[in-house]
Symmetry: C3
Subunit: 206 residues, 3 copies
Amino acid sequence: MDAELAAMRAELSDLRAAQQKLAARLQEAEDYRDLMNLQCAYGYYVDKGMWDEAADLFAENGTLEIAGRGVYVGRERARAYLKCLPAYGHGVLFNHMQLQPVIHVDSKAGTAKARWRTFITIGWLGKEGRWGEATYENEYVRENGKWRIAKLHGVINFYAEYDKGWHKGGVPLLRSIDGLEPDLPPSFEYEAYPEPVITPFHFDEP
Amino acid sequence: MDAELAAMRAELSDLRAAQQKLAARLQEAEDYRDLMNLQCAYGYYVDKGMWDEAADLFAENGTLEIAGRGVYVGRERARAYLKCLPAYGHGVLFNHMQLQPVIHVDSKAGTAKARWRTFITIGWLGKEGRWGEATYENEYVRENGKWRIAKLHGVINFYAEYDKGWHKGGVPLLRSIDGLEPDLPPSFEYEAYPEPVITPFHFDEP
Amino acid sequence: MDAELAAMRAELSDLRAAQQKLAARLQEAEDYRDLMNLQCAYGYYVDKGMWDEAADLFAENGTLEIAGRGVYVGRERARAYLKCLPAYGHGVLFNHMQLQPVIHVDSKAGTAKARWRTFITIGWLGKEGRWGEATYENEYVRENGKWRIAKLHGVINFYAEYDKGWHKGGVPLLRSIDGLEPDLPPSFEYEAYPEPVITPFHFDEP
């Protein structure tokens, strides 16, 4: 009897430990899904000039760096940057489609990294139509139980005029945004197409 | 002995309850994956004029509403609508790429909602080439153990002629499909680019 | 007492069996995520001429078949094929965006199948700009604990010159790659747009 009880105690202990491991693994699966939802939602907000909604997806100390314009540090600075972008309205197209995620989560630490890309169709009626594409190497953090963007780093691969196409020349990066100096210089210097640019990978192995 | 048995009974009970919670959370992770597969499969069928395969992904009472043409209620009406679309064949391109999902599942209820987008390349050799992009706000239901589309609602953001680009003008919505009156009027009235249009979000928070 | 112990033994046994089933289901959810990461990483490598990194994602006996050029059998042959592709550098754009996955995993067998698509923007400054789109029907295998590409099969739906658009004619498939004969003939013969082509589906039901 004592031996049987001891065996059952041991088995209960094993089951409990195994269950905790399953729960930790399940947390990673859930976090992966939540991170997908987060980045895709960001894109939908940016498309339509919903700058507050987009900014609210940043962590309190999140950073934003786009198109070689330097780093904006903190959610409110990300918000200020986003509010410098063109307003959405009649004749405006500002689509930044989000796709191709490679996501690595450390659920225990509450952090994650992901490589994404955005395929861009922008335009102003009667003025300008443009294609673009960029690579993101982003970081995320779980803050107050919700995943937030800790670092949004978008590196432009190309901008091209609709009327010409990339093979007739890329549109050079505009290195600043009107009226809003960055908090830190760019992470690295680069020029977009026709110059080659490879955004450093957060992983050696998918 | 009695105290020990009582403790073990209690622990078994806790393990069982915890396991049920894990199973419920795991169901959500599986449903997320199945919903991704479902919507992506829909896109592949639509590309190639596989209208029956596409219609079969609808729930019995599923609804379809695309491009402001009104609502078609029930799988067989969705099938009738799809069969009014251009046949696939020589010279035809009808790609509706599916991407950027924000998916929320209620596995217990067997329902889900998702925001998707489609990036469109269509054309007829010698006649017409066109770009397009639309937002979906869809609903899904688990029917006979399989996820099905309960509501497909596609809102066109823009159509543009390949030869011109969106900045030279959008292609207005054709508000009806030949020979097939809708069952209900459109959910909301809108015009595509150059008019601004923001498809209402099913979520406040990703 | 004996009856109680017997009941508890039975319950422990049930919990253990149920936990193993949960673990198996969780493995499938993790495999799904890893397969997403794998294919998306492949695309990022191909964009930037990182042929060794791309080839290293193939299983030892993996096969590669793209654009009707025949089948290359084995990782080193896939590597040889990839190294025949244009070098990345100044003026080069070679984006093969990866999207729209329908993934089915057999975790127990360590195999998987997925339908993906790629939307392609390629170009050489001053020479050529081109759009393309292809369907993949791929297979994967778990090798040494990591998912690898067992079969990469990319079927071109269209290539079109940027300056013309698909409606003015598709770019025919180049049926061979300079200096590297395939190991097996193409899986099936086809021509891209304007000819219709439907890549066979690995699934009847998503």
